[in-house]
């Protein structure tokens, strides 16, 4: 069972004490988090760590997920793409009606009788129409800086029904949002199976299980199989790197989330694009790649790549940096907050540029080590779960008006 004191050696006693004091103020209060899925994607990952940690502090927190069929998740995936700026997406009246209907059914089944209800992302957004007592916050994890206006205008009246909106970055906050908003950078848990320290022999065991040669350099991209993450671009970069550093191998790791019907289709495309190259490994949860395996692969990377065109924030970058691995990435979402060009990795524009940077890190292990260590410190100071938890506690205190 995870305890807040376990984090003291990493983030310091002071931070832990501050968190305990805040938790004391709202001890016994009820909070509910609702999102689309309990598996796959960054939100489920954050909640799977944050909720038990908050419970260990004496707060009565539940984590509940939506029940919906494939048609519902097809609609919400379209909404997700539209909010991220896909102007070609339209939601029909029938689709919107289904979206509201499924949410109304869920509202009747979920236990939302809480002091604070936090609803994550657009999928469960309409639950607020059935709100009862308590304060409601909408936590939007996606980049809504330039949303598809037609889709946003249908959702906005429901956003107005919340007491507070929470965004991952300042520029994601839609202009003229009618309700108060705050910024909460996403964070990672250094003690989660995905990020906790591993023995080198365990890393090697994972690599060899998947046929990856532990004695040759390895690079990789961890991201959903999704056009926004540009997995095909990652393979292009790899091919160029390989011509400079022939022994290099590439691992592409994605997972199939229940709310992401496009995933399978894109996985197929990536496999086809990789072709017969035996040094490219396209892996997913269906191959048994879970948190521990991702942890092992990331630790084995000489460099991580992240060629996403859009990112909610880019927590896979955070994970790699935390493991002391420099990241070569494009400027998407929260990546420039994490990848400081020439200090914790490299920011790149195109395939050629990215390949040059990756090859440089492979040829100069001392440089990769230096950047990796700086990246780890950057994450330790700025992007660990204790910050996310503090934000939630503070938000709760403020929303319910409890005093110490």
């Amino acid at each position: 069972m995870v305890k807040i004191d376990d984090y003291a050696p990493i983030v310091g006693e002071g931070t832990v004490e501050t968190i305990k004091k805040m938790a004391e103020i709202i001890k016994g209060e009820r909070a509910a988090h609702v999102n689309a899925t309990s598996y796959g994607g960054g939100v489920a990952e954050i909640l799977s760590r944050m909720v038990p940690l908050a419970r260990s502090l004496g707060i009565d927190v539940t984590w509940q997920t939506l029940k919906g069929d494939i048609d519902f998740f097809k609609v919400t995936k379209k909404m997700h793409n539209a909010l991220q700026g896909d102007l070609g997406t339209a939601i029909s009246d029938e689709e919107f009606a289904l979206y509201l209907k499924v949410n109304a059914e869920n509202a009747a089944m979920l236990d939302l009788d809480s002091d604070v209800v936090v609803v994550h992302d657009p999928q469960p957004l309409p639950l607020v129409r059935q709100r009862g007592r308590g304060k409601w916050a909408w936590r939007c994890h996606i980049d809504t800086s330039t949303p598809n206006e037609a889709v946003w205008s249908r959702l906005e009246p429901m956003v107005r029904m919340y007491d507070l909106a929470v965004f991952s970055m300042e520029r994601y906050i839609p202009k003229r949002l009618a309700i108060p908003s705050i910024i909460d950078y996403p964070t990672i848990d250094p003690l989660a199976p995905k990020n906790a320290p591993m023995k080198p022999e365990d890393v090697v065991r994972v690599l060899t299980r998947y046929g990856v040669d532990p004695d040759r350099p390895l690079i990789g991209q961890v991201a959903r199989f999704d056009p926004w993450k540009d997995p095909l671009g990652a393979i292009d970069v790899f091919r160029r790197v390989k011509s400079a550093v022939p022994g290099v191998q590439l691992v592409m790791i994605g997972s199939f989330a229940r709310d992401d019907p496009e995933g399978a289709e894109w996985y197929e495309r990536v496999v086809r694009y990789a072709g017969r190259d035996k040094d490219i490994f396209v892996l997913s949860n269906l191959d048994g790649v879970g948190d521990l395996e991702v942890n092992a692969f990331q630790r084995a990377f000489s460099a991580a790549i992240q060629l996403s065109k859009r990112e909610g924030f880019g927590l896979t970058v955070t994970e790699a940096l935390w493991k002391g691995v420099p990241v070569v990435a494009k400027r998407a979402g929260g990546i420039p907050l994490q990848v400081i060009d020439g200090t914790t990795g490299f920011l790149t524009e195109g395939t050629e540029d990215a390949a040059e940077r990756v090859a440089l890190l492979l040829r100069r292990p001392w440089l990769a080590r230096e950047l990796g260590e700086r990246g780890r410190q950057h994450v330790r100071l700025n992007f660990l779960i204790t910050k996310g938890l503090s934000n939630y506690l503070r938000m709760h205190i403020e929303l319910v008006g409890k005093m110490g």
Partner: protein, 287 residues
């Protein structure tokens, strides 16, 4: 080049001080827009900005608390409850070039520098950088780099309305424009905080005072001198004017005093970096 010579002290407040102390620092302090919140051992635990304070005063944030405790009671609460997490923290061995890149990439005007125990060593601030660009000209005009989406207030707008606009639009300053469309002044979050604080005389009845004070026209809070730029001016000239007048940004106007845009210190820093490159920028500020 050592980072040390660029660092400024920055305003700090301990986590268990009342929110009203933060308000006073924000209204009258030397570097008034943000205050670092530290614990008893001098470790940085958070940050509080002028916007945050204004949100509480205007009843936009902390509403649950204002409902229960009233504004006066809320202002007596620990600043720790209202602060935000600070996400721009760097170890003291970070290089100046890395900080410049971070600030320019993310349009962030400051970085908080700590030692390995998170004890505050100082703040790397855009002002320290721009100060070293005094006298330099870049052959690039303000008009090419200003922000053209301007949120402004009509002259005669109430302070309350101006404050709500700044909160909603997430801007720190509003050019005030007359009915003829010409610039008549500018008001910042700091100006409004200062105005409110100086207007609240009695210890009790803050709520009532606040309502009266914020009903006044925005010009009351606005400084007597309006600092502005012209689009054809060199970035270096604009930067110096902001330093000389201790403002973080200014409206850009044409010959008829119509507002064309707004330019801020971080806009200038980004623009200079874009025009001469980070390497040269680093060389320039190193003298």
């Amino acid at each position: 080049m050592t980072l040390q010579k660029f660092l400024v002290k920055g305003a700090t407040l301990e986590i268990d001080r009342p929110l009203v102390d933060a308000l006073e620092l924000l209204a009258y302090g030397k570097h008034p827009y943000r205050i670092l919140v530290t614990n008893g051992e001098g470790r940085v635990v958070g940050i509080i900005t002028g916007r945050r304070a204004l949100e509480v005063l205007m009843g936009v944030r902390g509403t649950g608390m204002v409902e229960k405790k009233g504004l006066r009671g809320t202002l007596e609460e620990d600043v720790g409850i209202f602060m935000d997490e600070c996400h721009e923290i760097f170890l003291e061995d970070i290089g100046v070039e890395a900080l410049l890149k971070f600030m320019v990439e993310n349009t962030i005007g400051y970085a908080v520098i700590v030692d390995h125990s998170r004890r505050l060593k100082g703040v790397f601030h855009e002002v320290s950088v721009i100060e070293r660009l005094r006298g330099k000209r870049f052959g690039a005009e303000v008009g090419g780099f200003m922000s053209k989406s301007v949120v402004s207030a009509r002259a005669g707008t109430s302070i309350e309305e101006a404050a709500q606009t700044m909160i909603k639009e997430r801007v720190r300053r509003l050019p005030v424009v007359g009915s003829d469309g010409r610039l008549s002044g500018i008001v910042t979050i700091g100006d409004i905080l200062r105005h409110i604080l100086s207007g609240v005389e009695a210890q009790e009845g803050l709520e009532r005072d606040l309502t009266e004070i914020s009903r006044a026209p925005v010009e009351r809070a606005s400084p007597t001198k309006t600092v502005f730029a012209r689009p054809e001016e060199d970035l270096g000239v604009a930067a110096e004017r902001m330093l000389d007048n201790e403002v973080s940004g200014m409206p850009v106007i044409d010959g008829d005093r119509r507002v064309l845009g707004v330019v801020s210190r971080i806009d200038v820093l980004k623009a200079v970096a874009a025009v001469i490159g980070i390497e040269s920028l680093k060389a320039e500020i190193n003298g």
